[in-house]
Symmetry: C2
Subunit: 158 residues, 2 copies
């Protein structure tokens, strides 16, 4: 991935807060949902805070492999399939409330999503960390690039 | 689902054009991607036109069960997890270029996505029809409703 594409990917991740999520049921059926996300400054971790009442949360707990797609929103004109988007896939782990990292991840999350604070008081909400393994970035029409955790680390410096 | 929620769902589907897609690999791993979508007037079919060069297209051809999430875009303020979104899941079928319905579905697609016309001239693009089986509509915080193809039919009349 060239420097200008890495910059475009970093900007995309930083500008958006609302992403598509793909999970899989125990029967192997896909489910698409929407989640708010935050991320570690070096892009090595993405954070999701969602309710166990949701089907996708149950699926994440049962099959902790997910994919997140972050995209520029459609402006209602032109071809949306030329808009930049990135699919980030990997394993998720639950950040337990009594773990050493919970408070600092919660702070990182609330810096980007301050209006979500009250949800941290709800017993049914779980904080997940996505550890990216693979990446597919489409910068525009016929501009697709594959990458890994290392690519994300490089983008985060830009 | 109450009348006001059905109206909200119909408006969401009609206002957006750019949705999150969940597919599953042959190994059972989820993949999230973005696709433009169009739909039959009665909401019994959704149309996706994408390249076989994309990984999610390959997965759809191998495992024709998908989920599409249509959401209101984040405005960058407040809690995005209060925004309306709908997950529509079901089987997909390929609409072959020489089939009787291809031309009319292409027209339906291009009415909403006119800037995508040139892609119909590309040999690597495939037109898919999603036949909705299940539906999950979240109208706002703690306002989740389940539905089926029949719910969508009812919404389309509103």
């Amino acid at each position: 991935m060239k420097q200008d594409q890495k910059i475009a990917l970093a900007q995309l991740i930083r500008r958006q807060r609302w992403a598509g999520l793909a999970t899989v049921s125990v029967d192997g059926e896909p489910l698409a949902a929407m989640v708010a996300y935050a991320f570690a400054e070096d892009f090595t971790a993405f954070y999701i805070h969602i309710s166990t009442l949701s089907q996708h949360t149950k699926q994440m707990l049962e099959r902790p492999k997910i994919s997140l797609v972050i995209a520029e929103p459609d402006k209602g004109a032109g071809d949306p399939q030329t808009l930049p988007r990135a699919s980030i896939s990997g394993d998720v782990e639950v950040i337990e409330r009594d773990s050493a990292s919970y408070a600092s991840i919660k702070n990182t999350y609330l810096e980007r999503l301050p209006a979500s604070e009250q949800l941290f008081g709800f017993g049914d909400f779980v904080l997940f960390q996505l550890n990216p393994q693979s990446l597919r970035f489409v910068g525009g029409f016929a501009q697709a690039h594959s990458g890994t955790r290392v690519t994300l680390l490089e983008c985060a410096k830009l």
